[in-house]
Amino acid sequence: MFGDYSLGDLGSIFVMQGFAGLILFSVYVLMALGLAIIFGQMGVINMAHGEFMILGAYVTWMTSSFFQSYLPSLFSGYFFLAMILAFIASGALGMLVEWVLIRHLYKRPLDTLLATWGLSLILQQAYRSVFGAREVGVELPQWMLGSLHVTDSIEVPINGVFVMCLTVLITISVAYVMYRSRWGRQVRAVVQNRIMAGAVGINTEKVDRYTFGLGCGIAGIAGSAFTMIGSTGPTSGQLYIVDTFLVVVFGGAASLVGTIASAFSISQTQSTLEFFMSGSMAKVLTLLAVVGILMLRPQGLFALKVRK
């Protein structure tokens, strides 16, 4: 298998493959962060998470089209505005959904699964009616195209580097918000003991709504970042939802470190295996390994020790 390559080539292939894995890792982390808040902290199974992501992608696409037609001079910077808009749009929709649907179901987690699946079907059809069934792709500004030549045989795409930087930035901000800020403390208090948190004066309903909105907003940013890598269609979200849930569960639902570690191991395993076999078999083996490990360690890699 390796006979045809020289040692240097092999090294570069592994670096490039590893880098492809890192981009996949960034996308997984972005998608899983929102879900780790919604599922891990709040315990809501949000099957419509992928659709919130797609909303972010569509918002990005609309922003880029708007800049292209009306503000071509500022096109190179549209992406930063698009990300903010995606966050606001997905977050607002998330808060609306929480108010209409989710808040009635906090005691019935399995039912949130069914209800949000229904929501995802409605959103998919809505996207199809509004944006059409065809996949849309975003035109990248000039500076994001091309790649950095690290050595003669290793080159890394700039948009991949950008997505990775974005991921690091967002992960750090989420970690800060959840673990250092006053609001994050309130969220965790509400999650751990809703009644007690209410008794000490936290407005639990408001905290719930903003937490759900934050989770969905991060999904929107993930979708926005996703437009740089692939194209977006009405049903794209569904493709990723199981992977994302596995990432969160595998890492240990309530642990941010766990989410990142599991996203890293899953994406690296998959992209390494893809080098040796077909993509579908690599995926099967990765998922099988994840399910197998989950059967041995049901609480995930980094389970928090809590009394139930």
Binding site: G43, I45, L101, H104, L105, K107, R108, P109, L110, D111, L113, L114, A115, W117, G118, L119, S120, L121, I122, Q124, Q125, R128, S129, Q238, V242, F245, L246, V249, S278, S280, M281, K283, V284, L287, L288, V290, V291, L294, M295, P298
Partner: protein
């Protein structure tokens, strides 16, 4: 009131009404095309029936029932496919006597795991045993370690995803995305013409009624009561000395076997099997059939399946765009407004009026059947 141990009067009447509806009313009123559609819907009713036991009564939501439906269906389809690829039928292939998709994928000999499917006895045993054993393995691995609820749901979903990718990826062995098509005969008896469809329909209804009886038996036996107790307060059942995991495994296996029988019927009735009935989306749709019918009602599962599928066919024929909105709305409505589905509506609104009309037949409330949980969904 003569109360049999396994039926009270209204349940017996309910089953008889369903039997008459399926055996007499539908065949007399529908043409063969529509009857075959009903037969296709009823294959999902097997799955819904299993979900009533496993989800409604046991509290275990499996989002991977499509896996078992698919395993049963593929077992049956493999037998039928081998019969359809006899040497004379496949003369034009470079290696006659093997299924056409293997020939297209440069596989020249029948793979080892296909060989036993030349025998019908083995196939029937496989339809029951393969999904049963598979469910047993998953169930043992999960329930012995006390994994339940949402985690179980997500892992079954992952299993459904794995199986779909595997089937699609291993095109030479499974027919890939197209599945196994062009199934013709069962032991030399052509399954394609109209009269065969009618015979298969009645055979299927017979099987369904047997499964309903089994489900009813489970529900009314001590086993059913333990399942409900487990769903409500798992720890107390465990402290009382019952092996909670074993009961859960049993419920999950029963649901898997029912689903597999449905899948096998599907392959027979529809004449093909493909991975599009295995994955996550069909699995969740199967859950919604149960939810619409009422997760605690055996008969509700059958009616719910028929109703949702009828609505799907007629709505998606005329208003393809409305259908997804309708289905999504249905999910939300079932969860928010009537968690016990059609059966809940019947039990809450229709049954009391009937009882009022017939005061002599006062149905006595029994503590552990549907009425006790009609006011809300089962707790985790």
């Amino acid at each position: 009131m003569t109360d049999n141990r396994f039926f009270n009067r209204s349940e017996l009447i309910g089953i008889l009404v369903l039997a008459v509806f399926l055996v007499v009313v539908l065949p007399l009123t529908l043409d063969v095309f529509r009857l075959n559609l009903v037969a296709k819907y009823l294959t999902y009713a097997f799955v819904a029936l299993g979900l009533v036991i496993c989800w409604g009564y046991g509290g275990i939501l499996s989002l991977g029932q499509g896996v078992f439906f698919g395993l049963g269906g593929y077992c049956m389809a493999m037998f039928l496919k081998l019969e359809a690829s006899s040497v004379e039928n496949t003369k034009i292939q470079s290696t006659p006597g093997i299924p056409d998709f293997m020939d297209w994928n440069q596989i020249t000999a029948l793979p080892l795991f296909w060989k036993p499917f030349n025998s019908l006895t083995f196939t029937i045993a496989a339809i029951i045993l393969v999904p049963g054993i598979f469910a047993f393995i998953i169930g043992t691995a999960m329930f012995k370690r006390r994994v339940g609820g949402t985690y179980f749901a997500i892992i079954t979903q992952a299993v459904a995803a794995i199986l779909t990718i595997l089937i699609v990826g291993q095109q030479g062995y499974t027919g890939g995305i197209n599945g196994m098509t062009d199934l013709r005969t069962l032991k030399g008896w052509d399954i394609r013409p109209d009269h065969a469809k009618v015979v298969l329909y009645f055979f299927e209804v017979g099987c369904l009624l047997v499964c309903i009886m089994i489900a009813q038996f489970i529900r009314r036996s001590k086993l059913g009561r333990i399942l409900v107790a487990m769903r409500e307060k798992e720890d107390r059942v465990r402290f009382s000395g019952y092996s909670v995991a074993n009961f859960k495994i049993f419920a999950f296996c029963i649901a898997a076997v029912f689903a597999a029988i449905g899948g096998a019927m599907f392959a027979l009735n529809v004449g093909f099997m493909s991975p599009s009935f295995v994955g996550i989306v069909p699995s969740i749709e199967m859950v919604i059939y149960t939810a619409v019918g009422g997760r605690l009602s055996i008969l509700g599962a059958v009616y719910g399946t028929l109703l949702v599928n009828f609505a799907k066919t007629s709505l998606s024929e005329t208003f393809p765009e409305l259908w997804l909105f309708g289905l999504g709305g249905l999910f939300i409505a079932v969860v928010l407004a009537f968690p016990n589905g059609l059966a809940g509506i019947w039990g809450d609104y229709v049954q009391p009026r009937i009882d009022r009309l017939m005061p002599s037949r006062k149905s006595k409330p029994d503590g552990w059947t549907d009425s006790s949980v009609a006011d809300g969904a089962p707790a985790e």
